[in-house]
C-alpha cells in the first residue's frame, strides 16, 4: 500500500471508528447538516455572482475595478480569523515524525485536503463566481479558468501557511504567547470592524483626502498583491494586452504562492519536532522552601461555604488563564460601545440597552452552555471529593455571573465616559436585564452542559470543540432568542400601555421570576448531574483521534 493511499485510509478508518454508536452517528449527521446550511448559502452567493457578471453588463466594471479586491480581501480576512480556532484538519506532522515519510508529501496532502475545510468553503464559491464570471462574461474562458486555478492555489497555500503559523505560535503551551495571540486575533477582529467606520468619520475623510495624490502608487502596489493582480489581469485582458496580463498574473501569483508554500513548509517541518510542553516557570533553589501555599484559591467569601468559594476561585483562575476569555471580553466591550451607545433616548434607548446586554450574554454563551468544557480530566476529581452537586453547579454558575457582571459594568462605565448621560433608568434596565438573563442562561446552560457535555482543549494547537453535539447549538440559539424576547416584553408593554412606571415593575417581576425558576430547578439539575456524572466524565476524557 502506498504511503499516500495509507494516509487517506487512516483518515477514513479514524472517522469510521469514531462512529461507535447510533447516537454518535446521529450527532455526526446532524453536525454535517448544520454545517451544510452555510456552505449551501455560500455556494448560492457564488452562483449568484457568476450569473450577475454574466448577464448584467453594468456590474462588471465596478467589480473588476476594486469591488472584487475588497470582497475577496474581506473574505480572506474572515477565513484567517476563523483559523485562530484551530478547527482545521491538517495532518499533524509531529504524529509522523517517526515514520519514513517526507514532510513535503504530508504538506502536499494538507494542501489538497484544505480545499474541503469549512472556512475555505465559505470563500471559494464567491471567488469562483467572480473570477470565472468575469472570464466568461468577457469571452476569456481560458483566462478565467487559469486565474481561478492560480487563485485557488494561492488561497490554499495561504490557508495552510497561516494555519501552521497559528499552530506553531501555540505549540509551546506558553501562556503569555497564547494570551498575546488571543489579543492579536481580538484586535484584528475588532480592527476589521472599526476600519470601515473610521473612514466615515471626519478624521477618516481627512486621511482619504491626504492619500488622494498617492492613488496611483497605491493602485500599483495593490496590483502587485495576489488579490489585486486578478483585477489587473482582467483589466488588461479586456484592453487587449493579453501578454502583459498573463505575464504579470503568473509572475505575481508565482512569487506569492512560492513564498506562502516555503514559509508553510518550513513551519510544518519545525512543528514536527517542536516541544509539546515547556516549562518556563522560575525555579526556586533546592532546599529553599517556596512560599507557594498562599494561593489565590485560599480566598474566602463571607456567608459562602468554602467549597463553593473554592470552585468560584478555581473557575476565575481558569478564566484568567484562558486566551478565549480575553477574546470574549474584547468582543463584548467593543461592539456594544460602537453600536449600542447609551446616548439614545426614550424607548429606543431602553431597547438598545437590553440589546447589548443580550449581546454580552451571547458572547459568553459558551461558558454557560459548556460548564465543564475546560475541566477535561479534572472533572473526575469532582467524583472523588466530598462535594454536593448543588454546590458545584452554584460555584460554577457564580463564577460566570462574576465574569459577565464585570463585562457589563465595564461597558456601562465606558459608555458613561463617552456619553456622560447614564441615568438611573438606564442602569436599572441594564441591571434587571442582566440579572434576568443570568438566571435564564444558567437554567438552560446547566441543562445543556449536563445533557450535551463537550470538551474544549485550550492552550494546545487543536483548540477545537471535541465530542460536541449540534443539538446543543440549536438549544443555544433558542435560548438566545428566547431571552431576547423576554427582555423585550417589559419594554413593549410599557410602550404599548404608555405607562413608563410599568417598565420598572415588569422588569422587577422578571428578575424575581427568573431567579425563582433558577432556584427551583437547581436541585433537580444537581440530581441530574449526579445521575449523568459518569457519562459526562467519559465524554470529557474520551480521546478523539486527530492525525
Amino acid at each position: 500500500m502506498s504511503q499516500l493511499h495509507t494516509l487517506f485510509w487512516l483518515r477514513y478508518r479514524i472517522f469510521r471508528n469514531s462512529l461507535t454508536t447510533r447516537g454518535e452517528m446521529a450527532r455526526k449527521i446532524l453536525n454535517t447538516v448544520l454545517l451544510l446550511i452555510p456552505v449551501l448559502l455560500s455556494v448560492g452567493i457564488g452562483i449568484g455572482l457568476f450569473l450577475l457578471l454574466l448577464f448584467v453588463e453594468q456590474a462588471r466594471t465596478p467589480i473588476m475595478n476594486g469591488g472584487m479586491t475588497t470582497v475577496l480581501a474581506t473574505l480572506l480576512f474572515l477565513m484567517l480569523i476563523s483559523q485562530s480556532t484551530g478547527a482545521s484538519s491538517h495532518f499533524d506532522p509531529s504524529k509522523f515524525a517517526l515514520f519514513p515519510i517526507k514532510f513535503g508529501k504530508l504538506y502536499v496532502l494538507n494542501l489538497m485536503s484544505a480545499v474541503g475545510e469549512f472556512s475555505m468553503l465559505m470563500v471559494l464559491p464567491s471567488m469562483a463566481g467572480m473570477l470565472l464570471g468575469l472570464g466568461f462574461a468577457y469571452g476569456h474562458i481560458f483566462g478565467g479558468v487559469i486565474v481561478f486555478l492560480l487563485a485557488l492555489l494561492w488561497v490554499t497555500s495561504l490557508f495552510i501557511c497561516t494555519g501552521m503559523l497559528f499552530a506553531w505560535l501555540l505549540s509551546g503551551r506558553k501562556r503569555s504567547r497564547e494570551i498575546l495571540f488571543a489579543l492579536l486575533i481580538g484586535l484584528m477582529t475588532v480592527g476589521g470592524q472599526l476600519l470601515p467606520r473610521f473612514f466615515i468619520t471626519p478624521q477618516g475623510r481627512g486621511l482619504m483626502r491626504w492619500l488622494l495624490p498617492y492613488r496611483d502608487i497605491i493602485t500599483t502596489v495593490i496590483d502587485w498583491t495576489p488579490i489585486g493582480v486578478w483585477s489587473f489581469f482582467f483589466r488588461h485582458l479586456v484592453e487587449g494586452e493579453t501578454a502583459t496580463a498573463y505575464i504579470r498574473l503568473v509572475l505575481v501569483c508565482g512569487i506569492w504562492i512560492s513564498l506562502a508554500l516555503a514559509i508553510g513548509l518550513r513551519l510544518f517541518t519545525r512543528l514536527a519536532t517542536s516541544p509539546r510542553a515547556s516549562s518556563t516557570a522560575s525555579r526556586v533553589p533546592r532546599g529553599k522552601r517556596a512560599a507557594a501555599t498562599n494561593t489565590f484559591l485560599s480566598f474566602h467569601l463571607p456567608f459562602v461555604p468554602g467549597q463553593i468559594a473554592v470552585v468560584i476561585a478555581k473557575e476565575l483562575r481558569y478564566f484568567a488563564r484562558n486566551p478565549a476569555t480575553y477574546l470574549t471580553i474584547i468582543s463584548s466591550l467593543i461592539f456594544p460601545l460602537l453600536f449600542f451607545r447609551t446616548g439614545r433616548s426614550g424607548t429606543n434607548s431602553n431597547l438598545w440597552i437590553s440589546g447589548w446586554i443580550v449581546y454580552v450574554f451571547a458572547m459568553n454563551l459558551q461558558y454557560f452552555a459548556g460548564l465543564f468544557a475546560y475541566d477535561a480530566a479534572g472533572f473526575r476529581l469532582y467524583l472523588l471529593v466530598p462535594i454536593r452537586w448543588t454546590r458545584l453547579l452554584l460555584g460554577k454558575n457564580a463564577a460566570i455571573w462574576l465574569l459577565v457582571t464585570t463585562q457589563i459594568t465595564l461597558v456601562l462605565l465606558s459608555a458613561e465616559l463617552l456619553d456622560h448621560n447614564l441615568t438611573f433608568e438606564k442602569v436599572y434596565i441594564a441591571g434587571c436585564s442582566m440579572l434576568s438573563a443570568m438566571a435564564m442562561y444558567s437554567v438552560v446552560g446547566n441543562y445543556v452542559s449536563i445533557y450535551f457535555p463537550y470538551r474544549i482543549n485550550f492552550g494546545v494547537p487543536a483548540r477545537r470543540r471535541e465530542n460536541w453535539s449540534g443539538i446543543s447549538l440549536l438549544v443555544q440559539f433558542a435560548l438566545l432568542f428566547g431571552v431576547m424576547g423576554l427582555l423585550l416584553l417589559p419594554i413593549g408593554a410599557a410602550y404599548w400601555f404608555r405607562a413608563p412606571k410599568m417598565l420598572y415593575f415588569l422588569f422587577a417581576v422578571l428578575v424575581v421570576a427568573s431567579w425563582t425558576v433558577y432556584f427551583l430547578f437547581l436541585e433537580t439539575q444537581a440530581k441530574l448531574l449526579a445521575a449523568r456524572r459518569f457519562d459526562i466524565a467519559e465524554t470529557l476524557t474520551r480521546r478523539t483521534e486527530k492525525v
Binding site: S279, A292, S298, R321, P386, F534
Partner: protein, 271 residues
C-alpha cells in the same frame, strides 16, 4: 510451579488469620460493557492496615475494579463497602475516608501544584491553616517546590504522578487506592513514592495498589489478589501464597494467568 486448579484451595482470603476489621468489602461486584463482562462477580475483603497488591494481566479488569471502588465508574451489579460504609448509600462520607491516585490522572492542568493541592484540601473542607501547612509539606516531600509558578500542564509525567499522590494524601485518608502509581515514573520519583507508602503502611493506612511491577509488589505488599478475565482467581497474604507455591511472585503470577508462550517459529524475519 503452581497449577491454577490447585490455587483454588487457598482463595479464601485470610481464612487462617484472626478476623480483623475490614477496610474494603466487595460483594458480587460486576461491570458489563455491552456484552463484554469486564469484572465478573468479584468478592473480596481487604483487612484494615494491610497493603494489598491487586494484580492481573492487561485487560483483566483491575482498573475497572478500582474505578468502581472509588466511585469513578458505576457498577452494573454488586456492593462496595469501605470502612463499613456503603459507597452507593453514603458517597460523601466514603469520599472523606479515601484517597485515590487514578491511572488517568484527574488533574486540573491549568492550576499550579500548590493551587491544585489547596483546591483539593478545600474540597475536603479542611481548615485554611491545615491546608497551607500540608500543602507546603507535601510539595517539599514530593520535591515539587522548585517551580512554584509552573502549571501542572508543564509538569513531567513523574511530577504529575507525585502531585496526584500529594492530592490523595492531603486530607489524611484511611484507605488509599493507587492505580499504577509507578508507571512512567523515574527511579528517583519511584523511591520517593515507595518510601512514602511504606511509612503510610506503618501508620496503619490501608493501601490498595495495582501495579505491573512485581518487584515493587513483592517489596511493599502484605497481601495480594490476582484477577484474570474479570474473575478473582486468588487472594491472601503474600508470604503464605509464596510459601505454598514455593516460587517467586513473578513465576507464580505468570503460571496463574496463562503461562509463557513459546517464541520458536515466530518473528522469523528478524535478524
Amino acid at each position: 510451579m503452581v497449577n491454577p486448579s490447585e490455587v483454588a484451595q487457598f482463595t479464601s482470603p485470610a481464612s487462617s488469620v484472626t478476623p480483623a476489621p475490614i477496610a474494603l468489602r466487595l460483594r458480587h461486584l460486576t461491570r458489563r460493557f455491552g456484552d463484554f463482562v469486564a469484572v465478573n462477580n468479584l468478592n473480596l475483603e481487604v483487612r484494615r492496615g494491610s497493603f494489598l497488591g491487586f494484580l492481573g494481566p492487561n485487560g483483566a479488569g483491575k482498573s475497572t475494579t478500582i474505578k468502581m471502588v472509588t466511585g469513578l465508574l458505576a457498577p452494573s451489579q454488586g456492593q462496595i463497602e469501605i470502612l463499613d460504609r456503603d459507597l452507593e448509600a453514603e458517597p460523601i462520607a466514603v469520599k472523606r475516608l479515601i484517597g485515590v491516585v487514578p491511572e488517568d490522572l484527574n488533574l486540573f492542568d491549568r492550576l499550579t501544584g500548590a493551587e491544585y493541592l489547596t483546591f483539593v484540601g478545600r474540597m475536603h473542607e479542611l481548615e485554611r491553616h491545615v491546608i497551607a501547612e500540608r500543602t507546603a509539606e507535601l510539595l517539599h516531600v514530593m520535591e515539587l517546590e522548585e517551580k512554584p509558578k509552573a502549571l501542572i500542564i508543564e509538569y513531567s509525567h513523574g511530577m504529575r504522578k507525585k502531585i496526584s499522590l500529594a492530592a490523595a494524601l492531603i486530607h489524611n485518608p484511611q484507605v488509599l487506592f493507587l492505580d499504577e502509581p509507578f508507571e512512567g515514573v523515574d527511579a528517583v520519583a519511584a523511591r520517593v513514592i515507595k518510601n512514602l507508602l511504606e511509612r503510610m503502611r506503618e501508620r496503619g493506612v490501608t493501601i490498595f495498589l495495582t501495579s505491573h511491577i512485581l518487584e515493587i509488589v513483592e517489596r511493599l505488599c502484605t497481601d495480594i489478589a490476582i484477577i484474570n478475565h474479570g474473575r478473582l482467581i486468588v487472594s491472601g497474604p503474600l508470604d503464605e501464597l509464596r510459601a505454598q507455591a514455593g516460587t517467586n511472585l513473578e513465576d507464580y503470577f505468570v503460571n496463574l494467568v496463562g503461562g509463557e508462550r513459546p517464541l520458536a517459529d515466530t518473528l522469523s524475519w528478524i535478524g
